[in-house]
């Protein structure tokens, strides 16, 4: 008896009033033949994101779009854990709400997993077929420099460490998340590195990453220090 796969797509949001509607539309457009649910974990956005999600529920159904909000910004890691608790699928996709992760790649994640039986499929911006847009030279330089440093120190086995567009087998995500303690994008790195250390089968698919078109990016200047601290932490503890 073949098991049917259901995909729970967890999207953490904060002030993504417009983007979340666009993302939901695109997910439904590209996964029309797949059994899935979208779990929006909103951290008390003041811009009315949750109202828009409720409108979307009227259009697509409350069984397809789950709003599992939290009272305030409580961090990315806990957002995933929170979403996981409500996930009824056997696979979990995590992605950003700001359209930098385009739902058109979701079928390729699913296909790769079915082909290889992988536990994790991670999107990479750094291989042929993938790519970025809207990055100036400085950003590309820091990204590439950060990547080379991380590859040299950690030998992670994946080409894109900080990416957060991933498909996980639900049991695997539960296992890894319980052992990760970092915050922000270092958390993403920690997850994939720990998964690699634990011997989980990880595959990659190329994805494109178009810099956010609506809203303000949450990338700041002290990120470099945080990154180096994160690398050092991962070097020693994984």
């Amino acid at each position: 008896m073949a098991e049917r796969n259901k995909y729970s797509i967890i999207i953490p949001t904060y002030n993504e009033r417009l983007n979340i509607a666009l993302v939901v539309f695109l997910v439904f457009k590209h996964l029309w033949d797949v059994d899935f649910e979208i779990i929006v974990v909103d951290d008390g956005s003041p811009d009315g994101t949750q109202e828009v999600v409720k409108q979307l529920q009227q259009v697509y159904g409350e069984d397809r779009i789950l709003l599992r909000a939290r009272p305030k910004k409580l961090g990315l890691g806990t957002a995933y854990s929170h979403g996981l608790k409500h996930a009824s699928g056997n696979f979990v996709v995590i992605m950003d709400a700001d359209l930098s992760h385009h739902p058109t790649y979701l079928p390729s994640f699913i296909k790769k997993q079915l082909e290889t039986g992988a536990n994790i499929v991670t999107g990479t911006r750094y291989v042929k077929g993938g790519g970025v847009h809207g990055w100036n030279l400085m950003r590309k330089l820091t990204s590439r420099g950060a990547n080379v440093l991380a590859q040299t120190l950690l030998w992670p086995g994946v080409s894109d460490l900080t990416g957060s567009f991933r498909l996980y087998r639900k049991s695997v995500l539960e296992d890894i998340i319980s052992s990760c303690v970092s915050k922000g994008y270092v958390f993403q790195m920690e997850m994939i590195v720990r998964a690699s250390r634990k011997g989980y089968h990880i595959e990659e698919v190329p994805i494109s990453f178009v810099d956010r078109i609506y809203g303000s990016s949450k990338l700041g200047g002290s990120e470099i220090v945080e990154y180096l601290k994160g690398l050092a932490y991962l070097l020693v503890t994984t």
């Binding site: 008896m1 073949a2 098991e3 049917r4 009033r17 417009l18 509607a21 666009l22 539309f25 695109l26 811009d47 009315g48 109202e51 828009v52 409108q55 979307l56 009227q58 259009v59 359209l99 385009h102 997993q113 079915l114 039986g117 992988a118 536990n119 911006r125 750094y126 291989v127 993938g130 790519g131 970025v132 847009h133 809207g134 990055w135 590309k140 330089l141 590439r144 420099g145 990547n147 080379v148 440093l149 040299t152 120190l153 030998w155 087998r169 049991s171 250390r197 634990k198 011997g199 989980y200 089968h201 494109s208 990453f209 178009v210 078109i213 609506y214 809203g215 070097l235 020693v236 503890t237």
Partner: protein, 109 residues
């Protein structure tokens, strides 16, 4: 079509190395090995010690150059996708049109 082998136990690969050996231990072992080699060279004086003493500096310089090379090459070959930005613009227009008709507020922020 789904595969029954996508069950949990079917896809878990066994540990490729002893679970409790952390990555840092592997790195340290490597460094210790290289250091031992270096001390050995110093002691046996097969190579003039003036050269041997400088080896660590050469090593670090090579590592640095390699790193810079990798950064440079990666930067040159950094894949970009301007066409994706255009497609995204089209997607946004399509999405807004569809959702607006169905009562979802897609006005600009």
């Amino acid at each position: 079509m789904t595969r029954t082998s996508s069950s949990i136990s079917g896809s878990f690969r066994p540990q490729l190395y002893h679970r409790s050996m952390k990555h840092i231990v592997k790195i340290m072992t490597l460094l210790v090995g290289i250091s031992a080699l270096w001390f050995g060279l110093l002691k046996t004086s097969m190579v003039p010690s003036s050269h041997t003493l400088l080896l660590p500096i050469y090593f670090i310089m090579c590592l640095g150059c390699y790193g810079l090379l990798m950064v440079g090459v990666g930067l040159m070959r950094f894949p970009t996708c301007p066409q994706e930005a255009l497609l995204l613009q089209q997607d946004v227009i399509e999405a807004k049109g569809y959702l607006k008709q169905r009562g979802v507020d897609v006005g600009s922020e």
